[in-house]
Amino acid sequence: MTNPWVAFVLVPMIKIVVILGTVVLATAYMSFFERRLVGFLQIRLGPNRVGWFGVLQPIADALKLFAKEDIVPSRVEKIVYLSGPVLIIVPSLVVFSVIPFGPPTTLFGLLPEPIAPFVTDINISVLFVMGVSSFGIYGIILGGWASNNKFSLMGGLRSAAQLISYEVPMGFAVVAVLLMAGSLSLVDIIEAQRQAHVWFVFPGIVAFFIYFVCGIAETNRNPFDLPEAEAELVGGFHTEYSGMKFAFYFLAEYANMILISSMATVLFFGGWLRPFPSWGWLSFLDVVPPFLWFVAKVAGFLYCYIWFRGTFPRVRFDQLMALGWKVFIPVSLANLMVIGAVIVLLGGGR
């Protein structure tokens, strides 16, 4: 791969197209799986009419949403209103550029030399993910405000408060991992877990718990789906959105779920590593490609999302805030101190 055009333009372009396509397809199918799985949890079948077991349902949904009349309510702030869905979908897809889906691979010898199955590995990946994914909140706030609807406005405000409150403990939880790994690069974090012979979830169980709960809160999912709380705010920030504009909010939510699950996989569950990577007698598990390990772990987290949605009631706004500020921030700080102290005692880090 000596030709710089191939190395710096063609290959990344192909990777971007493939990853973007996969992620968009995955988000669309996530909606299908959610409906099926919630159906199973609720002793019903879920959508099963379109195609074999309903597998074409997302396509039918997309067609329906595309064909739907594009309604812009008459008294909205038009530019802001229309930019809301864009603002939320773009960051939620951009962050996938740094998620390491697997180790460099030759695709079973099809390629002349190994290619990393992710767009790029920047040395501040963690910061990039947290920064860019937080940007999506503007879509919610601006969309809620621009809709000129009191329920939307309240949804947007709730979302903003929720994001600020939960970004902090989530950051602390991630810092605990960074202390253990000693790097901000996601690939290096996975590598560190391989070298440490243990997934970081075992030393960092508290951090993982905080990270995942905050992740649920950040993606506005049950039991923390206050910004859209159907029973209270009708639809919250997307009350006035319909058709493809609504679909963008919808897809962004699922993309964020996949993102949080991927990050949890990378930070705490060893990314593409098989379980207990240092135990030799488990090496028969290596026949499963690393990419599939990654997908399986992400799917496990996504199932938890759906499972929680099928089980829990919704918390109240003030209780959500209290949980964030009074429980998670102190606990995550304490956890950080403990982990830091242990690392110092064990040899002062790297």
């Binding site: 918390v315 109240r316 706004f317």
Partner: protein, 375 residues
């Protein structure tokens, strides 16, 4: 209840916001509209606005013969048709001096208790859904279907039963019905335990309901609350015990009460009421008397001149019918004491100072049905 609720939007500098909650809102159980004045998320005042489902039922009653009124009572509170039938035919029978055969009374009691179960199941389903727990809706409705199947076998309808007539019951129980009811009664406690596992101990459920919408016992009586909202506040009062009708003085059951008068206590009271209903049903199954199901009543019903008020303990509270007759074949005036109407009245009192999410929880805990409120 402030008179100038509507004027607030003209105050430009106000930090307060007024929101029209309903009439088309997922959590208002129909077409209830609540004008809420908010400071952020905190509710300063609320004003229920009703009447969107007003069908003039009381006026219509005046144009119908007595048995023809019964299908219309089904449609008052459409989740408790059997209780409505029971209260109405009870009023007419009381005015006519008809005593119904014991078997008919016991069948009525069974239907009423099944209806109470069905109504409480709907309440649990919608209340949990309002608070965000989606799945109990489906689990509970599966059991409600069993009750409706039994109704269908008995009278041919599932929701609007039209299952009682003045003077008794229009038909006897079908063959095998008691066995199927017993099977249902035997398996429901396990189902209730499953629902409770999802909610009763759940910390989120407790956070959302404990201390929300508190009303003291004295206030509850003053506001005229009846049914589970009254008992949740610790008043042990139930029409079935206080003014027994049909066979209720012959069966044993407890009247559960709460202590704090909050949403959680009302939840617990209703869950316990479901178990007590099962207890009554079991006694009915064991002791159902034999005999005819219809007393001798003339084909054309002509109650004497006079007035009578008959009330039953409906699933939502005291449900009464005030019947004034001028001696003709139609009621001169038929007034309904709708339990949800009077229970809803205390809504502003309960939600003041709470959050928007509490409003939803409190509407759910009052267990209102707009068909009865607006009539």
């Amino acid at each position: 209840m402030s008179q100038d609720l509507y004027l607030l939007s003209s105050l430009p500098d106000s930090e307060e916001m007024e929101v029209s909650f309903g009439p088309q809102h997922p959590a208002t159980h129909g077409v209830l509209r609540v004008m809420v004045r908010l400071d952020g998320e905190r509710i300063l005042d609320a004003k229920p606005i009703i009447g969107y489902l007003h069908r003039g039922t009381e006026k219509l009653f005046e144009t119908m013969h007595f048995n023809g009124c019964i299908p219309h009572t089904d449609r008052l509170d459409y989740t408790t048709a059997a209780a409505n039938n029971q209260a109405f035919v009870g009023a007419v029978e009381r005015l006519m001096g008809v005593t119904i055969p014991p078997r008919a009374a016991w069948i009525r009691m069974m239907l009423a208790e099944m209806q109470r179960l069905a109504s409480h199941i709907i309440w649990l389903a919608t209340h949990a859904l309002d608070i965000g727990a989606m799945s109990p809706f489906f689990y509970t409705f599966q059991e409600r279907e069993s009750i409706l199947d039994l109704f269908e076998e008995y009278c041919g309808a599932r929701l609007t039963l039209n299952a009682m007539r003045v003077g008794g019951q229009p038909f006897d129980l079908p063959e095998g019905w008691l066995g199927r009811l017993r099977a249902f009664v035997d398996q429901l406690p396990a189902r209730i335990a499953e629902w409770e596992r999802l909610l009763t101990g759940n910390r989120i459920w407790k956070q959302r309901t404990v201390g929300v919408g508190v009303i003291s016992a004295a206030d509850a009586i003053n506001w005229g609350l009846t049914g589970p909202p009254l008992r949740g506040s610790g008043v042990r009062w139930d029409v079935r015990k206080a003014l027994p009708y049909d066979g209720y003085d012959e069966v044993e059951f407890e009247v559960p009460i709460g202590q704090n008068g909050d949403t959680y206590d009302r939840y617990l009271v209703r869950m316990e009421e479901m178990r007590q209903s099962l207890r009554i049903l079991r006694q009915c199954l064991d002791r159902l008397p034999d005999g005819p199901v219809m007393a001798k009543v003339p084909k054309v019903l002509k109650p004497p001149k006079g007035e009578v008020y008959h009330s039953v303990e409906g699933p939502k509270g005291e449900l009464g019918f005030y019947l004034v007759s001028d001696g003709s074949t139609q009621p001169y005036r038929l007034h309904v004491r709708p339990s949800s109407f009077i229970n809803l009245q205390s809504l502003p009192e309960l939600v003041r100072g709470g959050l928007v999410a509490d409003l939803v929880a409190i509407i759910g805990t009052l267990d209102i049905v707009l068909g009865e409120i607006d009539r």
